[in-house]
Symmetry: C2
Subunit: 449 residues, 2 copies
C-alpha cells in the first residue's frame, strides 16, 4: 500500500474543537500535494483558517497545488498583504496558470499586487498559444555566465537557487543570452572548485522553441530523460525551461484528450465531476448527431436491398455480426496506428509499410472468421451457399476495414488533423456502410436474389 501521511478526519476534529496549536503541528507533517484533499473536505470559512496556520515558506507551494476553484475562494478571503506574499512566492508558470482560470475581477486584483516586471512577464506568457511550449514553460531557472568557475556557479545557485523551480540543470549563456550548454548539478558537485564551467558543460543540448507543440515538447523531454528542457526564442536565446513535472501533466492531459476524442466526445479540460451535466451533454451530442447521419446512410443501403432480404429474411440477422466485425477490425488497426503515431514509432510516411502489415493480418483474421462462421451456418441452417456468402463477405470486409483503419489516421496526420478522431466511433460507422454494401452485393451475386 502507498503510505498515507495524514487523516482528514483528524483535521476536521481539530478544527471543530478549535485546537489550532495542535492543528498547526499536525499540518506540518502533511505533504504539500495532499492539501487539495484537505481543503476539499473543510468548509469555506475554514480554508483561510488552515491556510493561516501553514508555514509561510510552504503556504505558496501548497496554494499552487490547489485547483482554481479553491484558489479563487482563498483569494477572496485574502488580505492584500497575504495575496502579495503568496504571489511573490509562486513560480511564474503557476501564477500564469492561476490567472488563466480566474474571473476578471480577481485577475485585476492579482495584477495590482505584482511588480511591474512580473506583470510584463505574465502578459508575455499569457500571449503564447495554449498548446505551445511557451505556455507551459517557467521563466525562472539558473543561468550562468560562460566565464564562471564552479565556485562562482555555486554562489549564484545559492543566491537565486531556492526561488527557482529546478536547480538540477543549470544553463550556460553567452553575453547575448544565447544558450551554450547545460550543466548538471551532479557534475558541478564532483568538480573542483576552480574549474571553468565551460569545460564541464554538455554542449549537445536539445532545445525547443516557444511555439513548439507542448505534446512534442513533453515527448522530447521523455526521450532524452531530461529533468528540465530549455526553451529558446527564434534567436536561440534562452527564455524559459519546461520541467519534468509539467511535462508529465501535459502527457496526462493529452492522453485524456485522446481518450475523449476516440470515444466521440469533444475534449474538455475540466475533470469529469467539474464538468456540468449540460456541458457533458454538449460535448457528446455533436458527435452523436454526426454519426447518426452516417448510420442513416447505412440504413438507406439496407433499404436499397429490401428485395434481397424480403426474399431471404435470415440475411438481416447477419447484419449485426458483419457490421460489428468490420467495425472492430477497423478500430483495432486505427487504434494501433494512432498510438504508434503518438509515441513516434509510426511516421506518416510509413503508409505502405503499415498497410502491407495490416493486409496480411487481415487475411489471417479474415480466413479464420470466415471458416468459423461458414461452419456455424452449415451446421445450424444446413445452407452452404449462405455460409459461403457470409464467409466471403467477412474476408472482403475485414481486408477493407483494416486497410481503411490503418490509412485514415495516417492521412489525418498528414493533413495536420488529430489522428485520434479516426478511432472506433467514426471508423466503425464508416465501415458499417461498407460492410453492408459488401454483404448485400455478395449475396445478390452468389445467390442471384
Amino acid at each position: 500500500m502507498i503510505e498515507k501521511t495524514f487523516d482528514v478526519e483528524e483535521v476536521l476534529e481539530l478544527l471543530e474543537q478549535k485546537k489550532f496549536n495542535e492543528l498547526k503541528k499536525y499540518l506540518e507533517r502533511i505533504n504539500g500535494a495532499d492539501f487539495p484533499s484537505i481543503f476539499e473536505a473543510v468548509k469555506d470559512e475554514d480554508m483561510i483558517v488552515i491556510f493561516r496556520l501553514l508555514n509561510k515558506e510552504e503556504a505558496a507551494e501548497i496554494f499552487a497545488e490547489l485547483d482554481s476553484d479553491m484558489q479563487e475562494r482563498l483569494i477572496n478571503s485574502f488580505t492584500d498583504k497575504e495575496l502579495k506574499y503568496v504571489i511573490d512566492n509562486l513560480f511564474m508558470d503557476d501564477t500564469v496558470d492561476m490567472i488563466e482560470e480566474m474571473p476578471s475581477n480577481v485577475v485585476k486584483r492579482i495584477l495590482k499586487n505584482v511588480s511591474e516586471q512580473d506583470r510584463k512577464v505574465i502578459n508575455e506568457i499569457l500571449n503564447y498559444p495554449d498548446d505551445s511550449a511557451g505556455s507551459i514553460m517557467t521563466t525562472e531557472f539558473v543561468d550562468l555566465k560562460e566565464n564562471m568557475t564552479v565556485d562562482d556557479a555555486f554562489k549564484k545557485i545559492k543566491k537565486i537557487g531556492l526561488k527557482k523551480e529546478t536547480v538540477y540543470n543549470c544553463f550556460v549563456l553567452d553575453v547575448n543570452r544565447k544558450l551554450l550548454g547545460v550543466l548538471d548539478l551532479k557534475d558541478l558537485l564532483v568538480a573542483e572548485r576552480d574549474e571553468k564551467i565551460t569545460d564541464l558543460m554538455d554542449e549537445n543540448v536539445v532545445t525547443v522553441t516557444t511555439l513548439d507543440d507542448k505534446e512534442d515538447v513533453a515527448n522530447t523531454l521523455a526521450k532524452y530523460d531530461y529533468v528540465a528542457l530549455p526553451v529558446v526564442d527564434k534567436e536561440n536565446r534562452l527564455v524559459g525551461i519546461v520541467t519534468v513535472d509539467d511535462a508529465i501533466d501535459v502527457m496526462q492531459d493529452e492522453v485524456s484528450e485522446d481518450f475523449e476524442i476516440m470515444a466521440a466526445i469533444t475534449p474538455n479540460e475540466d475533470g469529469y465531476y467539474k464538468t456540468s451535466v449540460l456541458q457533458h451533454a454538449k460535448n457528446r451530442i455533436v458527435w452523436l448527431l454526426f454519426l447518426m447521419v452516417s448510420s442513416i446512410v447505412t440504413g438507406a443501403v439496407i433499404t436499397h436491398y429490401e428485395t434481397a432480404f424480403a426474399a431471404l429474411p435470415i440475411l438481416v440477422s447477419f447484419i449485426p455480426m458483419i457490421m460489428g466485425t468490420g467495425g472492430n477490425c477497423g478500430s483495432q488497426s486505427s487504434t494501433l496506428v494512432i498510438r504508434g503515431l503518438a509515441v513516434d514509432e509510426i511516421k506518416p510516411k510509413d503508409f505502405f509499410k503499415v498497410w502491407w502489415k495490416e493486409i496480411r493480418v487481415a487475411l489471417i483474421v479474415g480466413v479464420i472468421m470466415a471458416v468459423v462462421n461458414c461452419l456455424r451456418i452449415v451446421i445450424q441452417y444446413k445452407d452452404l451457399q449462405l455460409g459461403i456468402v457470409v464467409g466471403l463477405t467477412l474476408i472482403i470486409a475485414i481486408a477493407l476495414a483494416k486497410s481503411i483503419g490503418c490509412l485514415l489516421p495516417l492521412v489525418c496526420k498528414k493533413l495536420k488533423l488529430d489522428p485520434a478522431i479516426m478511432a472506433a466511433p467514426l471508423i466503425s460507422t464508416l465501415l458499417d456502410t461498407c460492410s453492408c454494401l459488401i454483404f448485400f452485393n455478395v449475396a445478390v451475386i452468389i445467390m442471384g436474389l
Copy 2:
C-alpha cells in the same frame, strides 16, 4: 522545430570512407538518446566499430538506451573484457531490463561477467512480479547516515555520486536502514557545511513498497512531483528508488496497454513493427471471435422479430442508427469513467454519484436525438407513429447505454479486473442486443405488429 543535433547520413558517409578519427569527433557531439536511430541505420558489423569509437564513460549509457535486439547483436560482437566493462557501468535496473530480454546463452555470459554481489541483486530484482515497484526500481541511490553533517553528505555524494542514477534526492537511514527522511540536493547546497542533515531533511516522505503496482507507483510519483520515489520493504527498510524517467516509461506503457485493450486487442509489450504479422493476428482474433458470438445473439433477436419487419420492412433500415447510437453513447460514458479511474478522479465507490450524472446527461442527449429523428421521419416518411417509435427507442436505449456504460467499468474495478476491457467494442456489442430488443418491443407495443 525541435533541434536535431546530428545527421545519420553524415555518420554513414564517414563510416564508408573509414574516416574513423573524424567519425569519433562527430559522435562526441551526438546526444546519447539519439544513438538508437544511428545503430538502426548502420550494418551489423559497423555497430561494434561505432561502439568502440565512443567515449568509455558514455558507452555504457548509450548501450542502455538501445533496444534489446541491438544490445544482443552488440554483445555477440563484444570481447569478454568489453562486456564486463559495459555491465559494470550500467545501472542495476538497466542490467536487469536487459537480462529479461536476452536468450539464455547470452544471459549466462552476462552473469559470468558480474560480481558475486551483483549477481545476487540481479536475481532478487528478477524475482519481483512484472508489474511491481520492485521490478522497475533501481538499487543504486544515495543513502546517508542520520549522524552526518552537510559536509559528510557532500563527501559521500562525491564518492558514490556519479555511479548513482540520481543524486537529486538523498535518503537518510537509521542504523537498521529504515528510512527517516529525504533530502533534496538543492537544500543541501544552500545549507551551512556543519549543519546536521537530520535538521534539514523532510520527514514527510511518501514511500511505496516493493510489491505495489507499478502504475500506482508512477501515479504517486507524478502526484507528489518527485524526481525519485523511495521503495521500502515490509520492515520499512529502503531497498531502492523509482526515478522519474522510469515512471514516465511505465505511464506510457500503461497508456498503450489501455489503448489496445480498449480496441479489443490482447495487449502486447513489443512495438507495432516488432510484433510479427502472426502475433498481431493472434492478439486480435480472440476478441473478434468473442464479440462475434455476442453479435450473433443480436442477430437472433432480430430473427425473433421477423414478423415485425416482414410487415414493415422499413424498420430494418433503422437498426444501424439505433445500434450505433446506443453503442456510441455507452462507450462515451465508459471511456470517461475508465479514464477517471486511471487518473484517480473517480473512485470505485462513486457508483451512485457517477450514475446520477450520466442519467441526466442521457436524458438531455436522448431527448435531442429523439426529436431530431422523429422530425426527420415525419418529414421523409410522413409517419408520426414510426417517428414516435424511433424517438422513444432512442430515449430508452440511450438511458440504458449510459447507465451500463458508466457502471460496468466501476464493477470491473471493484472485481480487480482492468476497467479498460469495458470500452467501445465490448460495451457496444453488449448494447447492440439491448438496443435491438428495445426497438422491436417498442415497435410491437405501439404499432401492434
